[in-house]
Symmetry: C2
Subunit: 256 residues, 2 copies
């Protein structure tokens, strides 16, 4: 088992994500996939279709994390400027890629459709970029160094993610265990803080839930070492049992 820590950021690009018009579906999907791959998603940014904003975010993220995954802005319309912005961030010319032109020309020819100037925009990418195959609609995504540029349409994004997964270096898989807890954070905060301190090789998250009347929590232990995970999970289970006992004996503390 490798103990290498592999990190990632997602940069979702598109005015529609910021206007509330489109609820993003790609971030949650990729977050799930990265978790399973043992890659730590550390940051997400959503920016508008503005070159300066994309370039700045991309340069900040690609310097900081092992991988950066982008979604959106690689279609054929005037507001699709991700290829230009990525090229600018890397100081590379943005060109019509010969192989992408061939793939797209063939596809449109087979379908008896015109390979318009707009469609040719989808073949543009930074010089020397590697392709990410697009089995849904042909127009490829691309990779420059540690930056993976993918489409915004969820079906296409997910297909591209499937295609890049095998080449990503997975980190030591992060193990997680969820413990539903009937007590609110106010009841368990101090105890849980002590458990976290006693189990430094784990990360214990407390996620409050509210059903309209009462708070409960879901407690999630994360660790790379299964023994550390077990030890912390046992300590939490013991804490919940102790609170149950206190509640049964009429102690006023727990809200239940």
């Amino acid at each position: 088992m490798t103990t290498q820590i592999v990190t990632a950021a997602i940069l979702a690009i598109g005015d529609e994500l910021l206007s509330g018009r489109t609820k993003d579906k790609n971030i949650g999907h990729l977050a799930d996939v990265l978790l399973l791959s043992g890659i730590d998603l550390k940051e997400v940014r959503i920016v508008a279709d503005e070159e300066e904003a994309i370039v700045e975010a991309l340069n900040a993220l690609r310097a900081r994390y092992t991988y950066v995954f982008t979604s959106g802005g690689i279609g054929p319309t005037h507001d699709d400027i991700t290829a230009d912005a990525v090229s600018k961030a890397f100081g590379l010319p943005c060109e019509h890629d010969a192989e992408a032109m061939r793939l797209l020309a063939d596809m449109y020819a087979r379908r008896g459709m015109e390979f318009t100037e707009a469609r040719q925009r989808m073949a543009r990418m930074p010089r020397g970029a590697r392709h990410i195959a697009n089995p849904v609609s042909t127009a490829p995504g691309f990779v420059v160094e540690n930056v993976y540029v993918m489409a915004g349409v969820p079906q296409v994004f997910q297909a591209m993610v499937d295609n890049i997964l095998p080449e990503l270096a997975g980190g030591a898989k992060m193990l997680t265990r969820s413990l539903p807890c009937p007590y609110g954070e106010g009841d368990i905060g101090t105890l849980l803080g002590a458990i976290q301190k006693a189990h430094p090789a784990t990360s214990i998250g407390s996620y409050p839930k509210y059903d309209g009347q009462r708070f409960s929590t879901e407690l999630v232990v994360r660790a790379r070492d299964p023994e550390a995970l077990d030890a912390a999970a046992h300590a939490i289970a013991a804490m919940i049992r102790d609170l149950d006992t206190a509640r049964a004996s009429g102690h006023p503390g727990p809200e239940a």
Copy 2:
């Protein structure tokens, strides 16, 4: 009508948003609300429960936008470090706020519950911060300069948003019009680019949809001036009619 441009960013804080465990509900809600208020949401970031990450993102965003709205990390557990991080970003001491202590002590006394050390954490905020009332569970959010710090639990977040809305300076309302378009981006990209160029006071977005077989688009015109909006929307409608005519006459272009 004011023509002031008012901008905003959202900073969502929490490991659970990055692990794929919790799908964020606050960003989409606030994006909708801001759009209606005439405030331009320009950037969203999601960061982990790590002080350095929160401080850095907060300082970048608060310098750049009119308002910054945060969600998450103000509960009573050890991983709730947003109050500390916001204090650090502003160089202020993080203290138990006297009024928040009173509100919480009263609430727990009324409910016959102990005001534990963990619950007292929820009264901590940067010295001098203004409260954001929390009608759901009492523990207040807070405001420092242009930064609005709110809870992560969606019901509480939304109640806090309702409470701050009246004090936000709305910008000139951004008007939008959506035009469903049965043609894919490849068919309309060049024409639409020309329309965008001819209508510089508008922002025309093209959002591809894919039903598993074909692409269509939703075209969205945004403008602060209603006449500019009308003119661009008419040009787009004319474009769609022309494509319909071409299709009916057997022109091979449009994919339909």
